[in-house]
Symmetry: C2
Subunit: 418 residues, 2 copies
């Protein structure tokens, strides 16, 4: 993969946010890994060996809710072979058990492709019991893990951590373009390679999003919600530096990846607040404004690599209500962060009142924030899943390909608590 | 890339048409090239080394007509680095010189990506003069190369032959999904690798084609024109074998590739007849019904590998008239082929009359068919292009990347006439 060079970055304590970098070539040929900026091309290559090295350590978590079989199949086909697939489903289980169809789709794919995967249903009572036993009661409401995307991502990260792999990336299941999924995964690998820190994050900004408008397709550059989220995250930064900035272009990025060394330290937010809150939590934990508990991380930097992919992001339209919800959840987390300065907080309130999202005199809602996945006892989590979670499946298609098979998560080699 | 196995093929003389094979994984990992059917997975891998070996010998011809800059940029970004790009444009040159914009887009891309390309305009008088000098006056009307897609493909094949590379593939410029372009090229490489003959062809059937219907997207499985073309090509075969067949699924495939050893022997048809006529010409030249001039080819087989790609084919809608035209051009070439048996010819007439495309008592139109590109004197073609074709550009971005640069077509190493 060839990426345009990123010449600028903004620093916030240990967090180094790199300017958006475009993908120039999806496949940059067999040239040995350069990793360094090109001579005068303004671009750099991450060669196949370097990509492969990350992919063999990368878990791709696919949050899934009521997608059709053929869409899921397409998404799976785009995930590079060396990545491990973890499907976290929040699909309906009646009148038709859609999770069962999804798990069968994954199993069939694994058999055909000779690879392995893990699947689980978010609302499995056994999963909730396992998280409770492992030390995260906050995740549970009424005996079940709460609904919500942040919650699905948290489950996925915990499963990823149990595999012993080093990286986790997220790809939404509602994607009609397998080639886009493929590009996201390659961009994760390229970004994690060039980030050059054990604590790194890669966030995707898609090239465009096709929309139906007046009976034809219009390729919109930015999502409706992204513009608002990015603007306020950038204002948070600018209020400190005194210089306006547009460096953050991926505040709502559903497609993103990170090292588990970083991921296990992050506090994830619930619902759709999860993606913007990752930025906020980076600023809180590693921004140098509040005291950090991690001198080890502060000594390193925490690079955030932002990549603009080439493919259009072509997915189901969830409607206006969904978008308005996402927008406000992002503002809620920026508002309530202790690193957000008073002038920005005041401006957020004015904006939200102007949008009709807040009554005069009200405060923005607080979003739910969970403890870091690194605080979980993974051995207990595994034991709970294994014993009680009926939806928990470890699929291994490698035996069908004549390879020696072993489950992706092995009780004896679960990494110890941080 | 991992493909489902093709267990069946139909034979017509030396031509061996393989059943459609699905792409299972876009990236099948670093496993050394297997090339053989998997143990019990029902699939086979073509590994990165094998793909690369074909790509370094592959010319990708992009026929282009009035596409926007950003669509062309996307298509280029999807073509693997090791492939050589040839853009053949039939775009408007006034009031705005769109070819100039296209050539600049290609040049800028080549500089950023450190790669090379060739571009030419189909209606350049110097190009027509060069083809005339090289021995193909049939291509010219009124001092210019005729308009039409077959003509653009013929120009592209001649340029490909001059580079000395071994394979040529076609990718239409009106494709909104760079990841689909990437998959087509990988599928060409995989198919040419597994074909296992110096005379081989790979044809793509896309997974689906999104269409606007009642304000939402519908993923249609087959094009309107493909169904008709495939049906009649299959009837041509079935009339000989006495067994109905659906083996041909790619009669209209715009996305296809072949070895130049085969391509230089083919007679290409003009306009949109070009793609179905490739099948017809294979049957005429190598079907064993008519006498063949090529005992060498007849001793080998001529495999046609058909691959169903994963990505939706997402392009501009050219409207119903275009489709009806394509459909009838395909029927014209099947009708007029000396290998088509009388019963099929009669049925074609009845079908066309029923469709209102023919009056009772009329004969289907004859499509223009050109001599093989292998009959051209490539040295004379080059000299003509070099001296007179102002639109002919050889772009080399490798110098910008610090690599030693040489033009893609080198006068001293043009392969000799067949």
């Amino acid at each position: 993969m060839r990426l345009a060079d990123s010449f600028r970055s903004e620093r916030f304590g240990a967090v180094r946010i790199h300017e958006l970098q475009r993908v120039i070539e999806l496949d940059s040929g067999a040239v040995a890994d350069a990793g360094q900026p090109g001579l005068s091309t303004g671009s750099r290559i991450v060669g196949p060996e370097a990509l492969r090295a990350v992919e063999t350590q990368l878990v791709i978590v696919v949050p899934c809710m009521n997608e059709t079989r053929s869409v899921i199949e397409g998404v799976l086909s785009g995930i590079p072979h060396d990545c491990l697939i973890v499907l976290v489903s929040n699909s309906d289980r009646s009148p038709v058990d859609r999770y069962e169809i999804e798990a069968q789709t994954v199993e069939q794919f694994c058999r055909l492709a000779g690879r392995s995967a893990v699947t689980v249903h978010q609302r499995d009572p056994g999963l909730a019991a396992a998280f409770k036993a492992a030390g995260m009661e906050e995740l549970i409401d009424d005996g079940l893990v709460r609904r919500g995307k942040g919650e699905a991502m948290l489950i996925g990260m915990a499963l990823a951590a149990m595999t012993g792999r080093r990286y986790v990336g997220y790809v939404d299941a509602d994607n009609y373009v397998p080639g886009a999924v493929h590009e996201y995964c390659k961009a994760y690998a390229a970004g994690l390679h060039i980030a050059g820190s054990p604590y790194s994050m890669v966030r995707i900004s898609w090239h465009s999003k096709p929309k139906l408008r007046d009976g034809r397709l219009f390729f919109s550059r930015r999502g409706r919600s992204s513009e608002v989220t990015n603007e306020w995250l950038n204002r948070l930064l600018a209020e400190y530096s005194g210089f306006g900035t547009e460096v953050i272009a991926t505040g709502n990025a559903g497609e993103h990846a990170m090292s588990l060394d970083l991921g296990l330290k992050l506090r994830l937010a619930g619902g759709f607040a999860v993606e913007p809150y990752e930025y906020v939590d980076l600023f809180e934990q590693f921004g140098g404004v509040l005291e950090s508990n991690d001198p080890e991380v502060m000594m390193n930097s925490v690079p955030v690599v932002q990549i603009e992919t080439r493919n259009p992001h072509f997915h189901d339209n969830k409607g206006e209500e969904h978008v308005q919800g996402m927008r406000m959840q992002a503002l809620n987390v920026v508002y309530h962060s202790p690193v957000t300065l008073p002038a920005v907080r005041q401006a957020i309130i004015e904006f939200m009142v102007g949008q009709g999202a807040l009554e005069v005199g009200q405060e923005p809602q607080r979003e739910r924030v969970y403890p870091p996945v690194g605080s979980l006892d993974l051995d207990l989590l595994y034991d709970g899943l294994d014993a009680e979670a009926l939806s928990f499946r470890q699929l291994d298609g490698r035996a069908a390909a004549g390879l020696s098979a072993s489950p992706p998560i092995d009780r004896d080699s679960i990494p110890q608590k941080l």
